[in-house]
Amino acid sequence: MKHSGLSTPTLILATVILGLAALLAGLYVGTLSKGNQGDAITLTAGTLFPADFRALAEFELNDQTGQTFTRERLAGSWNLIFFGYTYCPDVCPLTLTIFKQIKAALAGEVRPQTSPLNFILVSVDPERDSPDRLKEYLDFFDPEFIGLTDTSTEQQQLNSLTRSLGAYYGKHEHEANEAYLVDHSAGIYLIDPQARAHALFSTPHRPDEIARDLLTIIENYKADDS
């Protein structure tokens, strides 16, 4: 089958899976330790990142208007990040529809003084997803959604963000003129107003549960220096 192989060696995939396993183990232990402190919040769909894992690396991507978008742009807002690409016909439109449902579920629920919530699609296919293309794509779902793509040559900026979130993407092997597929992390990542990884919402995504968890997190959130 043409699409079956991955261009990245199996070794790298194995490393990433091990890394993910380590991260998940960390999340589990972190959740437990938080529980012991007695100030734990109960989430239905999401998992909190333990404090040690929260720091995000610096990155410099471009938004759909062509403007630079760095880690600092995440600060001051709540941000839901999903990795995907516009050539993906099934999972990505589904997740953007879930973004719309979360946004609709939260409308009027969040107190006005709360930091705004951004919905962000980060392209794992910068070769085909130019800022213009992302704009056209996202305008269809919701013009307020933010689309980010890496205009640097080696995708180092994108890799910086995915690595620091423990996210993965990998392009399928393909013939020169053939459309290709990209595997990518399916989770929705919550970045807090201090630009730190705060929680992960794994699949299956249920918009009502995610919206409820977001309200819980936002209402219990206290900015700190840790």
Binding site: M1, L20, T86, C88, V91, L94, T97, Q101, A179
Partner: protein, 151 residues
Amino acid sequence: MTLKRIFPLLLLVFINPSHAGEMLAFQNTYIIAAPPGVETMAAYLTVINSGKRDKKIVRIDSHQFESAEIHRSTVEAGVAKMEKLDILQVPANSMVELSPGGLHIMLIGPKQPVLPGEFVILRLEEADGTEHNLAVKVIFTAMDRKEHEHH
């Protein structure tokens, strides 16, 4: 009921031969509209095989697209993957559901923009050469579909 009304029904009964139950049936067909410029779309449907023999769909195409493939989305260890299937198996006495986030027909390279409310003609071919032509409606989003179901 007048004879005029019954007559077409009688015709249907006579035209559909006794092995009608052996034919594949298709339900719940839809395509979710894609943003402009998008090169791939997904078609969803439920295939029902109420017959006693296993069936295989071996080819799908549409004159409105460059090509069509059977794909399956899966999530393994938190990673969303897509794989191409050469054959869609529909075992005897069973139902196979193609739905968002799972099995789907990936439509590649629309020859013209395909808009909500329009129909896409899909041709599905079984291993024994039996063909099915389906007119599949393009709907706006999965959310719209749910709303339709509720009303």
